[in-house]
Symmetry: D2
Subunit: 339 residues, 4 copies
């Protein structure tokens, strides 16, 4: 039984983490921390967990945490994660960080997009990008996992087979992405106030969403050709619903392609991935909601390749993939507690 | 043409007021004030009004306001209204107050429920309760209108015929009310954050919602019998939608009653009221949404009288009835700009 | 391992049943039947189950079913259930019926409310009402379970402690209930068309919803006093959301009561029930959604007892309680696969 | 006063037409027809219109209609419109057809996409495409208006300035469009059943939506260069909300362009169009919902031109633009009854 700490327990992804881990035969949540909710019971923060967990939030203390936990999931905002990670690793606690702090390998890119210098370059060098479908073999030995962003996973998994096989142009890829509102976190903001979001649909952060460099970086790593990096045009939109991200991706094939060949390619590429479903119909967010599945299909429309991909942003896009990483790190079947 | 000031222009009811008045042949919005948004254009606060109004928010100044406006609609929180009303009235500006400050005739009841002493007793004595269906004849001469609450109007209009005719027991009346989220205002709060409200239904303020004494007071005024006040059990609930209040009201008849007689009673009682629709079917909030109508029907179930009543909380429950009052005060047809 | 048949596999409750049973260590879904979808794969009917179940719908045949299943869950409309149950029981298959066919013990009441004669009086005499919180000891030996209605469970569990202790008047009990739309089933209807329900709130079937006699009957059984039956005024409403029922219940105490005593009573009454949560705050449907919990609290408002109770209509109100019954019938821990 | 007939009165667009025309000083709805609802009062079909209109649906009869109406709005499905239009025109009734029947100028393209031969080629030759922003001068004299599709108007108005000025490549234009559910009509269907759409987001008809050839045709007409037709990749999606279409459009500039120049171009192009708002911020559907405005902005992202455009599908996308056409045809100010 592995002792687990949830650092930053008040958010939606942390609630999902706790809920999943309550059904995990090899994990026990022994520590929950929260700055703003110190002393509050976890089931007061998350009433849906009433009767299921008897734990209160404590202030973060790496040493005391390490006495009870071998792994810490960080549900913290960016910069807060890199502030606590070194201390945890010093105590021998393995870290699965759900923030963006260890995702961008180049600290100057991080500084550009997040507006802060990176303060844990050692951690940054060590971190493994926690997308099991691409980096499954590196994860078991990892001591620090950079858990991927939700838009990022949708986009990368949707494009990886095409990029890996060098089938599409590497620039001018359009990712038109649509997300439910839990992806924006639990803190109330004017633009997330119910009457502002409800019955509304809009784009936001056009041309400057922070998941853009993350998508570029990982896809470039998946298949760099002649030194040319991948460069995507990424447009996020807000959908008036709780959960789910759907990306409609438009790519230009390097040579004419047939739909069924592309579908075969996707099936082969993800043959070992238990949470990828290459579906014949058009995926809908509701079919993957409340699951850890990533659903994808491919079409050709007037010469463009159109990929439609979706997942649950809180599960496959955050807490679910985090547990997938945990499973790989601690020797459990990849699907444990996730089906 | 009457010059109109919108004092506190940033809220939802104020936006609806402006939108309605833009189509009013006898009114022109000449002043908009806002403390937190001083200098901001009204159509920046409310992008739906783009291209429709060329006005910026100014700080509140009764004297300067009075140069351009003969009437002020107050879209302010309680206590803020009674802070500005005396100065406006001193300048000869008539006031239609959408807050609760002048609704409760007894200042000790106000202090009990709102937690503040009332600071404008003179205004309180002068104020006319702005529910035209009950007080139509008092409104034309009013200089200060206490515009009723949204739950209140639904409940009172739903019960007034029964109380006026002394057909039901005066205590133990159950008002089970359900409201869309715009009723809670535009300020972001944790419990109004989209993912908290969406796909959720809950009661709140059980036994202690501030519209309770307002309902009691007005219904007691409608029909006091042997000195006995009306006393309601009022339970508000939040519905994951923008607009609309529906109240399901349960009353005990003093003697057996027939459904069709009650329906006739309602039709007669509201014969002169152009915005009341006594409907045969079961009213649904969507049929009155975006209108100034109040829809109501009556049923008898196992000896109880069940009244089902609904309206749009921002219109008939706030901005619409405010314009109805304006029309009566300034000699326009009651329905002007409201159909 | 118990072989399980899902008879009528295309509805929402059946989908939830299959999903739950996929995680049950002692059950295996071996048969799925559907009249209109014969030959269709279960994961075509329910794309969320893709990659999880490899089964196609077959026509109903009791004999062939009995070769592979020891128990059948019936997700059929009323009258269809009593048409297949005798054949199943003849084959020794135990039946958990999610329809209304075996809930009303008096066949004349059934005929009155459902408009059909009851055709399986033998089954009716044998059936056990499947509400474990009240009839836990009768369920293990049952061969035919009448799984309770969703409104019914919410209402009965909300009132049972008060009725059992004879603390409230038995008539004039108001149950104002609100339900998400999955409760109305999967068949498209004009009134369930998205733009008709969305952003709308309304009452329906006022005074004539078929769950009324079921509530009366069970509560009368819980605590008949001097031969007086319980008689409730039940008003259902439709909430624009997927899941959840919340009932606000108003009862008249026979003598003055204190809130904390009532809360203690509820805690005691449900002390052995792992899926009942007596909560201090006001329950919200979202906290019990996607769980098998029933949440309840009690307040006193102006002399009335106000009970607020909620559950997920597809789980604790249908598929979840059905598995709870299955667990009790087949010797599993009551919570197996449900936490 | 112009007598108006609503042919096919039961749909959402017809309801909006009636509502708008009730506030029009120069129009009176004198006829409403409906095949399936013959004899039904209009306010029974549309309870929101209760107390506002005293008219019942009659069967379609061109001669009797012509006695009371000078213009007919057709709210009919495709093929039904071209079945009644010749008779109306024979009677001298001008026609504004909201279906697709007269939008595609080439009858073979119509037959290809709609699966029916066109049966009114004379009407087809006569019809004027009713998009006032592009064809304002042709509309006043028109006797038959092909009212544009909702997706179509959003896409065409979003691209017209770029195409007219020959600033972008004519093929490979990506239109990623998202629509509220009223766009799919009022007839209940499995995929529009509330629990299927709610909390869901999906693409549909990828590569084969019938608005595609309409967009191609009109944009080609706006600016054909060297005989090259415009060819768009159009992907529609369904958003869980009532109203609004937002299109995110990606185009490749023929030479480098600056954002502010493009914004100026849009402002100039639409300077005479009272219902086009070129906005600095990112448009959101809710700001144009319940209005006749089309909102648009332009961005440049990594060398691509990104246009974001939205409108209310039932108003600017259907009933509103129809009244705009009516105003131009009958000599009213273009904005009459629409602000």
């Amino acid at each position: 039984m592995t002792g687990v700490a949830i650092v930053g327990a008040s958010g939606y992804a942390s609630r999902e983490l706790i809920r999943i881990l309550l059904g995990h035969p090899g994990a026990k949540v022994t520590v929950a921390t929260s700055r703003q909710d110190e002393g509050t019971r976890v089931d007061s923060l998350h009433p849906s967990l009433a009767r299921r967990i008897d734990l209160s939030c404590e202030p973060f203390d790496a040493e005391r945490l390490a006495e009870r936990a071998q792994v810490a999931f960080l549900g913290l905002p960016h910069t807060a994660s890199m502030a606590v990670t070194p201390a945890l690793r010093e105590q021998g606690v393995r870290v699965i960080d759900l923030s963006a702090d260890y995702r961008l390998t180049d600290p100057t890119v991080y500084a550009d997009w997040y507006g802060h210098e990176h303060t844990d370059l050692d951690g940054l060098r060590t971190a493994v990008y926690g997308l099991p479908e691409l980096y499954r073999e590196r994860i078991p030995a990892a001591t620090l996992i950079a858990n991927p962003g939700c838009y990022t996973s949708t986009s990368i998994l949707g494009l990886a087979p095409l990029i890996a096989e060098n089938l599409i142009e590497r620039t001018g890829i359009i990712i038109d992405a649509k997300s439910g509102v839990t992806g924006a976190g639990r803190a109330p903001k004017p633009n997330l106030h119910f009457p502002e979001v409800n019955e509304n649909f809009s784009a936001y952060n056009v041309g400057r969403h922070r998941h853009t460099p993350e998508i570029d970086q990982v896809l470039t790593d998946v298949g760099r050709v002649d030194g040319a990096p991948v460069e995507v045009v990424f447009t996020p939109h807000l959908v008036p619903m709780d959960r789910g991200i759907l990306a409609t991706i438009y790519a230009t094939p390097r040579k004419p392609a047939a739909e069924h060949d592309l579908m075969d390619l996707y099936r082969d590429f993800y043959a070992r991935s238990p949470f990828v479903r290459v579906v014949g119909g058009l995926p809908a967010t509701k079919d993957s909601a409340y699951t850890n599945f990533f659903d994808v299909t491919v079409r050709i429309v007037r010469g463009k390749i159109v990929v439609i991909a979706c997942l649950d942003n809180l599960l496959k896009g955050a807490a679910g993939v985090a547990v997938q990483n945990f499973n790989l790190m601690f020797g459990h079947a990849e699907t444990t507690a996730l089906l």
